[in-house]
């Protein structure tokens, strides 16, 4: 497959799509673990349908930021509002119910389960029938499973992983496991998708594939995407706006070109002479 050409063709199209109002607003977030300040007074917003990247060197607090949005950590200060509603204490389930899905830096898949079943777990939130009904798989439960299976199949088709439908995830190469991880997040039909280093540890070809899928998700479903990434070239190619963190502080925010020209960002990445 000619991934390069299609990625190149998609990029200008993405720029033309409509970017909406602010969907996720992060205000003055501070997070500390005892004496260690992971995040200090971070503010930024995410607009609907955009691809928003959070970058920074190792230990900059990127994953902590994502965990705050995701409800895994509760920040000591600051607010996070989603579609204008502000929440102070949230757990992961509430966040998921609001339509925020995520993938993980270190994969958190069920290795012994098939690709299909793994993605099916992403539908869990949308299942209405109870455990007992599902166990005997009759009537409403059966109809429901068929409906969910259909949407899972659409995701499998979308991510082009049909050959591995029945393969246990543990037997797949890393790049494909990442794709399954993305598939499971998509199964939630999220409004906002948080991607924690989706390209980490991949070879060039896998990265290009992943870039294309991220852009396709954004394009096809209009999903807002917040992604953490290490690889600058990837970020600059696919994101609309970029937040730069360093030692838990925000040092830059803006379009890829603006961020690239920012002296603080250059200093953080390349170091400066004193």
């Amino acid at each position: 497959m000619n991934t390069m050409a299609s990625a190149a063709m998609t990029a200008p199209a993405v720029k033309g799509r409509h970017i909406g109002a602010v969907i996720l607003d992060v205000r003055n977030i501070s997070l500390a673990f005892g004496g260690v300040k992971a995040l200090t007074d971070i503010s930024f917003d995410v607009r609907e349908h955009e691809v928003r990247a959070i970058i920074g060197p190792n230990g900059a607090g990127k994953t902590s930021m994502l965990n705050c949005i995701n409800g895994v950590y509760t920040p000591q200060q600051g607010t996070i509002s989603f579609r204008g509603k502000t929440f102070n204490h949230m757990n992961s389930r509430q966040v998921a119910e609001m339509g925020v899905a995520r993938t993980f830096q270190s994969l958190a898949l069920f290795k012994g389960m098939s690709v299909l079943d793994n993605i099916m777990t992403g539908r869990n939130l949308r299942m209405k029938t109870n455990l007992f009904q599902q166990a005997i798989r009759w009537g409403a439960a059966e109809r429901e499973e068929a409906a969910h299976r259909e949407s899972v199949e659409r995701i499998i088709d979308f991510l082009e992983i049909q050959p591995f439908r029945k393969t246990p995830v543990g037997r797949l190469p890393y790049g494909l496991q990442k794709r399954v991880d993305l598939g499971r997040a998509l199964a939630m039909e999220p409004k906002v998708l948080l991607l924690d280093e989706p390209m980490a540890g991949m070879n060039v070809e896998e990265k290009q594939d992943m870039c294309r899928f991220v852009l396709d998700v954004n394009d096809e479903f209009g999903t807002t995407i917040v992604l953490i990434e290490h690889d600058m070239s990837v970020v600059m190619d696919i994101s609309d706006r970029v937040v730069v963190l360093d030692y838990g502080k925000k040092i830059g925010d803006g379009t890829p070109d603006a961020v690239r020209a920012n002296p603080d960002v250059i200093a953080a990445y390349l170091g400066t002479s004193h």
């Binding site: 000619n2 050409a5 082009e160 096809e220």
Partner: protein, 638 residues
Amino acid sequence: MQTTFPRLLLDHAKARPDAPALREKEYGIWQTLSWRQLAGLVKQIANGLAAAGLQRGEHIVVIGENRPRLYASMLAAQSLGAVPVPLYQDAAATEFVFPIVNAEVAFAIVEDQEQVDKLLEIRPQCPGLRSVWYDDPRGLRNYSEPGLAPLDALLDITAADVFDTEVAKADPNDVAAMFFTSGTTGNPKGVVHSHFTLLDRAQAGARFDKLTSAEEVLAYLPPAWIGQNIFSYAQWLACGYVVNCPESAATASIDLKEVGPTYYFAPPRIFEALLTNVTIRMEDASAIKKWLYKHCMDVARRVGPKVLDGHTVGLFDRVQYFLGNLLIYGPLRNTLGFSRVRVAYTAGEAIGPDLFTFYRSIGINLKQLYGSTETAVFVCLQPDNQVKADTVGVPIEGVEIKVDDNGELLVRSNGLLKGYYKNEAATREVLTADGWYRTGDAGYLDATGHLKIIDRAKDVGRLSSGDMFAPKYIENKLKFFPYIKEAVAFGDKRDTVCAFINIDFEAVGNWAERRNLPYAGYTDLAGKPEVRALIADCVSKVNADLAADEKLAGGQISRFLVLHKELDADDGELTRTRKVRRGAIGEKYQVLVDALYAGKREQFIETAMKFEDGRSGSVSATLQIADVPVNPVLKRAA
């Protein structure tokens, strides 16, 4: 019986409206299209195309995998008297330019974004290309190029119903389709076929093997290849059987198992890949299973072909074969997806005798056929019970064969091409005034009336000693070893025969792992002295074989080298159907050829190559050259 493709479609829709015509696996489920639904779809597309301005006799390009809506599009074009031109979906964009310009194509129906991108890329070179419709809209929503629209838009047009009147106008001798031959040299040539030429051969082939409407076929090879087109289009409409389209190219083997085709067609490389897979998996099996497999396969090799050919077999052997069938052959056929195969064909390249016998020995009725794009495939077929590994069968009904003074094979039948499109000179070269087609193959009919093909007539050369040199014959013998993927033999007008070898990465890689031989990628593995020794062993065996053949004994291989990169169609070293382009390779690797003949021990080479994603790079290596002992020519002395 003279008819046209659209009329056959309407006949089926009338006689068996609810019988399945096409199946496609989508979202994990086989979705069926009945003959009536298909006829309705074809009618809609045809009316849409007519409204868009597609004229009788005009060409329309169809690019994509085997997809029901692309099949319907071809039928729709034919209904209007237009000529569908299927092109290879994996070809590079620039390869589309010649056919589109040559055939003055204004309309194209393609599968997806990948093909659309390619057409948009070459649009400046193809000013005549007005409209492109795509089947799968994924990723194309924001494209706003003029003339680009989804296939659904064509269906929505409220157009005048011209379908029935247009279908009625068609004459069986009208042009039905054009196939561009891959062409080892120069521009591809458009082979023009009429409804009659294609259907006459399709029906003759169907009668030969008693095909019925109950057959199941899996369509997974490029529809631009006439082989696939005949099996899943011409014969499909002639017989009215079911064609199944796999979910994607990558799932073909899974889908094969699910469908369980009764009529199957594949080039030898597919059968080879399947067997390599089985062999590798068997080597990882437990000792008991290995023993059982080996024992049963020994029995199968001895007894299987006889059973399949209907010969009498001793009681003890029969019992052994029965048990083997229960324990190994049956489950193996099932795993391969061949449980229900009644007739399987292989063509396109020579098939190794071991490979051929393997499939026949486990009870798969695998046969060979001989034909080409120009002859609408069916020239010679092997009849059931009369199958030999080194011949390609008997001429079937309606085919005459003769061999001219130079040893070239000539064919006459109803299925011959009408000509090459806009290429009078090339047409005159292959079609004689009295209606014979020059195949360009050197071969002869043996004592039992079976055809034996040696090589391309123009490739058969002479060594400076005057001995016959049949490069393809030698290369095929080499390729029959699982470790050798491709081979290129040189020797015309030279003193000795030398060869380039491409190792099979999977098979040799597995072999190396078993010997705890570490390697870092293809180039490294190909350069290992152990691998060279392995290949030298294969080459000596080929030499021993050649020495036994009176005609070809002089053409034994004296030196060879293992190439550092895989020969690839993207680098212009193979054709799209994976045949080696001997001339192009000889020029590209001139230094290596010179080194072989200059008696050097090693040679440095750097080669530019194209990656799958279109980027370019280069690989370099110092290749060692190996000498192989040549057997004395025994028979000559006698």
